[in-house]
């Protein structure tokens, strides 16, 4: 439901908005996003379906287009819809300089749901009521907000304070996780949304068909022709659907993937690498990377994983190798 407010927006918010120049904000159509036959609908979030709080009273909201988003700007927060891919992000305002006193966001955060399971349930109910297809909710889990403060005088840190929860909806289509679809919300004690992020694009039939096929190919025995084509030494993986992330530029890509989580440990330094073996006291690094293999067994990179703007800048003097100095 759209809120109206008595108080005018702050000058900072207005200037920020006006700096964007002309504003012609047209968000994508809300609700279900159509797909092809055999595919899975997406969901387009909107302010009408949201419980996000842009302000406390009846004040005028600004509708502007800025930085690729259609924004509804209230005195206390911004509800923004990405005009290219439909991502919705809603966050509070309330930033301030160090010297200033107080802020609205803190006051609203007081009174949070104290039970993460209850918060999970409320967020599921919220997204279902908004229109997220029930059969696409594969699970939910809470993340925990914490804070701490102290000084050099203390020998031990003060126990952290729990400041509330967000609940994250996990998406599945049939039994396949749709990894890059993300919907989460953080609610206060009045079941109002303090912040949220929703990106739930439609999944075409081909991706689903490939997922079913991939599952057959990968089998359950761990000894199939498909698995034999993958690089040696990989742990077992799982069949999922991957797509362009909410921040990826370029055309939308979606494919069924056999995702493998690879974890490798290496010595941290050239000196350690030169040893060619591990010793108990050596400093090491670990790399944890998810690799994607399509229905043909070809390794794929998601659009967001292929970003590379090219040359470094400004030019930097590269120096020849010299003996490493001791630390």
């Amino acid at each position: 439901m759209m809120k109206r407010h008595e108080h005018p927006c702050s000058i900072a918010v207005l200037v920020s908005v006006m700096c964007a120049g002309p504003a012609v904000a047209q968000s994508p159509s809300q609700g279900l996003i159509a797909t092809d036959k055999g595919g899975a609908s997406g969901y387009q979030h909107s302010l009408d379906r949201s419980r996000f709080v842009t302000g406390t009273t009846e004040a005028k909201l600004l509708h502007v287009e800025e930085y690729g988003f259609a924004k509804v700007v209230g005195p206390d927060g911004v509800f923004a819809t990405n005009l290219r891919n439909g991502l919705v992000v809603a966050v509070q305002s309330g930033g301030s300089d160090k010297g200033s006193n107080g802020n609205a966001a803190d006051a609203k955060a007081t009174g949070y749901v104290r039970d993460p399971d209850r918060h999970n349930q409320q967020v599921i109910e919220y997204f279902l009521a908004a229109g997220v297809p029930k059969d696409q909710i594969g699970g939910v889990h809470a993340t925990t907000y914490l804070s701490s403060s102290g000084s050099a005088r203390e020998t031990r840190p003060a126990p952290p304070k729990i400041d509330g929860y967000a609940s994250v909806i996990e998406r599945k289509v049939e039994k396949y996780p749709v990894v890059d679809s993300v919907a989460w919300a953080r609610m206060n004690g009045q079941r109002k949304v303090v912040s949220e992020w929703v990106y739930w694009p439609a999944i075409p039939a081909k991706a689903l068909a490939d997922a079913r096929r991939l599952e057959e190919l990968a089998g359950s025995s761990g000894d199939t022709e498909f698995l034999a084509r993958l690089p040696a030494g990989l742990p077992s993986g799982k069949v999922v659907i991957r797509h362009s992330s909410a921040t990826a530029e370029g055309p939308f890509e979606v494919f069924a993937s056999y995702d493998v989580l690879e974890r490798k440990t290496s010595p941290a330094t050239a000196e350690g690498k030169a040893l060619g073996r591990y010793t108990p006291s050596i400093t090491t690094v670990v790399s944890v990377v998810v690799r994607h293999f399509d229905v043909d067994g070809v390794e794929r990179r998601l659009p967001q994983e292929k970003r590379n703007v090219g040359a470094d800048y400004p030019p930097k003097e590269t120096q020849p190798a010299q003996p490493v100095m001791s630390r």
Binding site: A80, V91, G150
Partner: protein, 363 residues
């Protein structure tokens, strides 16, 4: 839906500009601002040691922050062997350092590193029921130099055992390295953010400038040493954002940086600290291993947290750092005047009951 036409918007903008010009005190009018962004990203750590998503991650952050109409400018971008360990080192502490030219150059609003951290954990195999019992650093195993304080640390992935303070480090891999490719930001020659506005209280001059440092690395902080880990490096920097693992690993993902930047694009008056911690929520939940008891993923393999810390010379200013919006981040008047006090905020990828007295150590 309202429409704002350009001439009207221009007139309004002019009007507000006049109001602001009249309203802002003279001291503010001459305030220094920082707008440059530097991103240093390392994919290639030599044969068999690749982090394939670091450059995509760093470039995505830069692209997300710098665009027509943005208040930020692209200051520098270095990748792989163009990233030197001494880029991060303060020359006042170690003469090999060049951070005044690179990572911590005056005018930097954000300095972002994405690459390896180290796995040194400082933990022993000695089980414990209270932190008071953890007084023997020589029992710790693994890499690093262990020292007090100790902690009876536990996590959803570990039962309580004595762990000890050990320096945290970022890792580079270049022929230009002079410090073995290790950037020790706990006990090493790292001082970030010392500026004309912060003053030279950290003993590193005033030739720095980074207002926000992001260490997008494995094990940036281990609990409960969030203050000890970053105190020396805090020489005027307004905030340091990094990743804290609680039994898991950091996953090398391509979207942490651009997701963080998305919050700026959405609302430049939202808090930087909230933007960083909520970046974790916004990364895929099922990419990365699970955390026992629920959760996991979101850029971690197992259990972990996005954490951000501000330090200053009073509790109010330390807490104030975490209230800064993106707009406020540019102002060097928010630089730290000391590091005697800290405030930290974080979000973990698993549920902790609100009745929990300590989530990571036994008292």
């Amino acid at each position: 839906m309202k429409r704002y036409h350009k001439p009207r918007g221009f007139v309004l903008l002019l009007g507000y500009s006049i109001i602001l010009t009249v309203a802002v005190p003279a001291s503010h009018a001459s305030a220094q601002t920082s707008a440059d962004i530097i991103v240093e990203s390392v994919n290639d750590y030599g044969p068999g040691d690749q982090l394939p998503n670091s450059i995509a991650n760093g470039d995505g952050f830069m692209q997300g922050m710098v665009f027509p109409g943005s208040r930020w400018r692209s200051g520098a971008r270095y990748t792989n062997t163009a990233v030197f360990d001494r880029d991060f080192v303060d020359p006042a502490i170690n003469f090999l350092g060049t951070d005044q030219v690179f990572f911590d150059r005056a005018g930097r609003a954000v300095a972002y590193f994405t690459g390896h951290g180290i796995t040194d954990h400082g933990c022993s195999t000695v089980s414990c029921s209270t932190t008071a019992a953890c007084t023997q650093p020589n029992t710790a195993t693994g890499g690093g130099v262990f020292r007090l304080p100790g902690t009876c640390r536990f996590s959803p992935m570990d039962s309580p055992r004595c762990c000890y303070m050990v320096d945290r480090q970022a890792v580079t891999h270049s022929p230009g390295d002079r410090l073995d490719g290790l950037v020790n930001y706990t006990g090493g020659p790292i001082r970030w953010g010392e500026s004309l506005q912060s003053g030279a209280w950290a003993g590193a001059g005033t030739d720095g400038g980074a207002n926000l440092v992001v260490l997008d690395i494995s094990h940036g902080i281990l609990p409960t040493f969030w203050y000890q880990t970053l105190r020396n490096a805090s020489a005027g920097v307004q905030m340091i954002a990094t990743l804290m693992t609680a039994g898991g690993d950091t996953a090398n993902v391509s979207d942490r940086g651009p997701t963080f930047a998305t919050f700026y694009r959405v609302n430049e008056n939202t808090r930087v600290s909230e933007s960083w911690v909520q970046t974790m929520n916004s990364l895929p939940a099922s990419e990365g291993g699970s955390c026992p008891g629920g959760g996991g993923g979101h850029g971690f393999n197992g259990c972990g947290c996005n954490i951000i810390i501000g330090m200053d010379n009073t509790p109010q200013r330390a807490a104030g750092a975490l209230n800064e919006g993106w707009v406020n981040l540019a102002s060097d008047q928010n630089d730290g005047f000391g590091n005697q006090f800290y405030a930290a905020r974080w979000v973990c990828n698993y549920p902790l009951p609100s009745t929990t007295q300590s989530a990571w150590e036994l008292p």
